[in-house]
Every structure is written in C-alpha cells, then in structure tokens.
C-alpha cells in the first residue's frame, strides 16, 4: 500500500490469550449449520447466471458469524438458501446434520426490508410463530411479552407497526424471530436502512441479546465496522460468482465496546477486510496518482 501508515498495525492473525481461548471453546462446540459446497445458478431471461460458486463453511453453536461482501456478490441469495426460501443448484445446507429442504421455524430470519405484518399489533406479530406451532393464546401472549421485554419494547405491545420507527420495527422483527427459539438466527443486512445513530444503538442491543440468550447468529452486512464489531468470525465473500475469499477469526476481545473501534486488532482486521472487499483497481490508483 502506498501512503504513510503512521503506526504499525498488528497482524490480524495474532490472537491474545482470551481470544485464543474463545476460539478453542467454539471449535469444541457442535456444528449447527453446515454449508456444504453450495452453488446457485439462476435461469434468467438472458440465460444462466451463476450467483454462487462453491461456498463452504460451518456455523458453530452460540457463535456470531458475519458474511460480508460487495453488493451483488450473492449474500442475499446465500441467506435465502440457508432459510430455505430458495434452493441450491449444487451442494446442500445441513441443519443439525439434516438437509434443509424448505423454510421452517427452526431458522429465524430478519429481513432488510420491514416485514412485520401491518394488520397485527406488535404483540400479535411476536405471537405469530407461536400460534403457527399451536401454542395456546394465553401462553403465546406471555411469551411474546417476554420477548418484547428482551428487545426493550414492552411499552409498545398494542401499537401497530405503522406507528413505529424503523429501528423499533427491526427490534420487533428480532423478537418475532426469537420467539420461535430457532436453532439459528439469520439476518440479512437488518440495519442497512437505519441512520448511523440508530444503527449503533441496534448493534449494541443485538450484542447484548446474543450474549444474554446464547443464540447462534448468522449476520449479513456490507459494513466493515459492523462486521468486526459484532462477529467471532467473518466470511469474506468475493464476486463473480460469489465465493468465500477468506474466513477471518476476529482477534478483538469480548465483551466488545465502541472504544475498540480504534484498537490495534480491530483496525488490523478492518484493514484486511478492506483489502479483500474493496480492492484498489488500476483506475483508482491512476486517480490517486
């Protein structure tokens, strides 16, 4: 890289003892989801489009894993296949050793767009999955109250989605997905449409929920800071077709806090991601010269 770096960044492979211990613990845990040589080719109007190449990685129980990549590299396609909303043309997705064949309550999903049911109140939205399972109304309501408390929206049980701000809507969506107690929570750029301040707040909130509940989260983003701040491991994807460039173990200690944004391990990881996701092209170099 040209230009002066005024201080030395550590190697992002370097892990402090607590971090190393964390990964040792994770490796000992069972695999919740195995993405097994996944490929996807769309049959469009202009012939075949290969969106995903040979994707392979494991998600371990209780881990926070992020998938990051440039726009159009197939992140949404990937997570839709994991959720069972679309099917792979090669390979398979295994959940607890069983192949995924369609959408189901064992994988919760939070979408980028707001997908709360507008005709249901906040509380009824959260109760939706439980009702589908046949949980009695009273029991479902009690559980919904609990999950709303978890996301800090107890006062809004009777509101309609239309009355909520964007951040609140996503928190309800998280509560709605969590209420089913899924094996894994899939999130496709859930904070992408939020402003910076709300977004930071949501990130902190999500980390707290993840820590308190010990859920497994697969999180899609194109924001480098977000990925480093939240994750244990980061799947860095590349385009043409979507493939895994590198699986990065984030060397930042937990619990995380915003002060770490300027720490050595954080910046080192971010720099590596920068190289992978936003590589400098010849044209950019020419412009910089």
């Amino acid at each position: 890289m040209t230009g002066a770096t005024h201080f030395e960044l550590p190697d992002y492979h370097e892990q402090s003892p607590p971090v190393r211990e964390r990964f040792a613990q994770l490796d000992a845990r069972p695999v919740v989801m195995r993405v097994d040589h996944l490929g996807k080719t769309f049959l469009g109007a202009q012939g075949e489009v290969q969106a995903l190449g040979d994707i392979e990685f494991d998600v371990r129980r209780g881990e926070f894993i992020s998938v990051i990549g440039p726009s159009g590299c197939g992140k949404s396609t990937l997570i839709r296949i994991l959720a069972g909303l679309d099917y792979p043309t090669e390979g398979a997705v295994m959940l607890d050793g069983e192949p995924v064949i369609g959408p189901g309550a064992d994988r919760g999903m939070v979408f980028q767009g707001y997908t709360l049911f507008p005709w249901l109140t906040v509380e009824k939205n959260v109760m939706f999955g439980l009702k589908m399972k046949g949980v009695k109304r009273r029991e479902a309501r009690e559980q919904a109250r609990h999950w709303l408390e978890v996301v800090g929206l107890s006062g809004f049980a009777g509101h309609y989605p239309k009355q909520l701000s964007g951040g609140m809507k996503q928190r309800v969506a998280i509560a709605r997905a969590l209420a089913n107690q899924p094996r894994i929570l899939l999130m496709d750029e859930p904070f992408g449409a939020l402003d910076a301040q709300t977004r930071a707040h949501m990130q902190a909130h999500l980390l707290k929920i993840w820590r308190d509940l010990d859920v497994t989260i697969l999180f899609i983003t194109h924001d480098l800071d977000e990925a480093v701040y939240l994750s244990d491991r980061i799947v860095a994807m590349g385009t043409g077709p979507g493939h895994v460039q590198e699986m990065i173990e984030v060397p930042v200690e937990r619990p995380r806090s915003p002060e770490q944004f300027l720490s050595g391990p954080f910046l080192a990881t971010k720099k590596r991601l920068e190289e992978l996701i936003h590589p400098r092209t010849e044209e950019m170099r020419a412009l910089e010269a």
Binding site: G108, M109, F111, P118, M132, G155, Y160, K162, L164
Partner: protein
C-alpha cells in the same frame, strides 16, 4: 401579501398535492352546485334555449291557415307559434299568447324536486303495481342478492387464483373469455331457465359482477408483498395458514375497496336485469313514467338511484375507517367515544413509552 396569494393559488393547481381542507369542502359543494346551476340557467332563463312555446291562449281559432292546429296547452315549436301569429295578424284577429318553454323531456329543477317528494305518495296507476318505495326496496334486494352471491363465490376463487398458480391457470383463461360477453345477452337464457320472477334478474347481476370480481380479486391478491409471505414461512406458517393468516388479512383493506367499486358495477346491470321477464323495481317505474311522459318522475327516479349508490358508498367508506385500524388513523371522535366508556387510561393520557414512540415516529417522518 401578493406572494402569499400566489402560493395559495399555486397550491390549488399543484400536481399531486392535496388542496387545503377548506378548498376541498368548497370544491365538493361545487361538484354538485355547478351542474345544478347550469340546469337552472337553462330552465329558468327564457332566452337560453327554450325552443318551444307553451300556448296559453290560442287566439282566434276560427282563422284557417297552415298553423291553425295550435291549441291551448300545446307545446309547439317557436317557428310554428310565430307562423300562427302571422296568420292571425294578417286576418286582424286576436293573437295567440304563450310562454317560451323547454322540451317536455327537460323539466325544471323544482318540478323534479316536487316529483321527488310526490312520487312516493302517488298511488300505483294499476292495481297490483308497486308503490315507489316498494319498487326501490325491490331493486335494492336484487342488487344485494346478486352481489352477495357473486362475492360468496368470486372472492374465494379470486383469492385462490391470486395465491396458487394452479387455480390461476385453471380458472382465469375461461373467466377472461366470459367477461367480454355483455351480461344482458344472457337475459333471454336466464328467463327461459329460471322463469319470470327475481331469479333471472339476480342471475344477470351475478353474471355482470362475478367474472370481473374474480379477476379484480386475484389481481389484488397478487399485489400482496411477497416478503410478508416469506417472513411467515420462516416463522413456520404452512400453506393453509399462509392463506388464512397472511394472504387474507393482508389484502383485506384492498379487498374492501374492490367490493365498494364492484357494487357500483352491480348497479349498472340493474336496469337490464329488471326489464327482463316481468318488469320490476325502479326500472319498471322509470319505464312506465317515461311512457306516460312524466319525465320529472323519470329524473327523480334516476336521481334516487344515484343517491342510493352514493349513500351506500359513503356508509361503506365510513365503516371501512373502523374495520382496518392498522391502515388509517381512527376518526378522532372514536377516541372521544372510547373515553366516554371508560377507556380513559388507554386512550387518554400517554404512557412515557407511547410519548417516546410518537417522538421517534415524528423524527423519522421529518427525515
């Protein structure tokens, strides 16, 4: 000052901007006042149109001539009246007098207004005929049943077509084919099969609305955001649950709006339906009055149909505001009523959380 005037005027004609509430009220009033004003102008200003003369006194009827058929009470063309007076003047006799008048098929507003009231009190001309209010009620029933049967079948089929490709492919091509046939062509058939009473009439209304309804409802169903269905799937909803818990509630407000439009559609088939078989209802009344040349009654009856339609639609619109609280803010008086009945804690003072929500939503909206 003048700048302000400009902006107010500009707002009246700004594309895609609603006018002020006051302007809205004025424009609504004008919507009815302007046609009425035009009608009054034509009716009450003798020099506007009035191509006839209503003869009051035919003058000396013994004078022979080309126009000697002019008699008292006749409505003759202006040229005939002037011709007669030339004949009378040439003979040196008493001239005819009369007032300028419009054709009999254009009664003045006050005549129609009077007919509007007296038509209800006029005894049926023939024994066994219906009073006007009975006719109207009969018409409403025909519409109601035709529409209800159509909705009972059309809505479920439309929803199925909109959600399941299987039904769409199976049903829609034929529906598309039939819907181009004007419902009245089935009139003779309906009478032959179902007799002369109400059944064929209800059938015509049914045919007129059902096929359109299937297509309209299936289209509305297709417009439901697919992301909601996917979200429900990831929450564990399966086929039938998806239909009952997501598709149907999701399209309900639009479905209701469709039904309001389709009721109007049903009314357009009313006259055809009522004139087949045994003539009945308001159409029979109009038909009869037109034969007796009581045109003010004809206009009154037509206006009644319009009023009933407008009234039903307004009532349905009003009810709609309560049915879908997630779509529109409830009307303000709803909260007042709620407070009256002791809902004060919920509707009245805000909890802190609710106040927060309002601030957050406002902040979002102002972005």
């Amino acid at each position: 000052m003048s700048r302000q005037k400009n902006t107010a005027g500009a707002r009246l004609f700004a594309v895609r901007q609603d006018v002020s509430p006051r302007a809205r009220a004025v424009l609504t009033a004008l919507a009815f006042a302007l046609p009425l004003l035009m009608w009054s102008a034509v009716s009450y200003t003798p020099f506007i149109w009035h191509p006839y003369v209503l003869v009051e006194d035919p003058g000396d009827t013994t004078v022979a001539g080309k126009y000697d058929y002019v008699r008292e009470g006749q409505r003759v063309e202006l040229a005939e009246f002037e011709g007669r007076n030339r004949e009378l003047a040439a003979a040196g006799k008493q001239l005819a007098t009369g007032e300028r008048a419009n054709p009999i098929y254009l009664p003045a507003p006050h005549e129609v207004a009077r007919a509007f009231v007296t038509a209800f009190g006029t005894e049926p001309q023939r024994r066994g005929d219906q009073w006007l209010h009975e006719s109207l009620w009969h018409s409403c029933q025909i519409i109601f049943w035709g529409f209800i049967y159509s909705a009972m079948l059309g809505v479920p089929i439309g929803v199925l077509c909109g959600s399941l490709s299987f039904f769409s492919r199976l049903v829609e091509p034929f529906v598309d084919f039939v819907r181009y046939m004007p419902a009245p062509v089935f009139g003779a058939l309906a009478v032959a099969i179902l007799g002369l009473k109400d059944e064929p009439k209800i059938t015509i209304i049914f045919i007129g609305t059902f096929f359109q309804m299937v297509l309209v409802v299936s289209n509305t169903t297709r417009q439901l955001d697919g992301a909601l269905i996917e979200a429900a799937q990831t929450l564990g909803a399966k086929n039938r649950q998806l239909l009952a818990r997501v598709v149907v509630p999701g399209i309900l407000p639009n479905l209701y709006r469709d039904m309001r439009i389709l009721i109007g559609w049903a009314w357009t088939y009313l006259v055809v339906a009522e004139l087949i078989g045994e003539k009945s209802g308001i159409s029979a009344f109009i038909y009869q009055q037109q034969r007796y040349r009581n045109f003010e009654n004809v206009y009154a009856a037509i206006a009644m149909i319009g009023l009933i339609g407008l009234f039903t639609d307004q009532i349905l619109a009003f009810i709609g505001r309560f049915l879908f609280p997630w779509e529109n803010e409830r009307p303000r008086f709803f909260y007042r009523i709620q407070r009256l009945f002791g809902g004060a804690r919920e509707g009245g003072s805000d909890t802190q959380a609710q106040a927060q929500a309002r601030v957050a939503v406002k902040a979002e909206a102002s972005r």
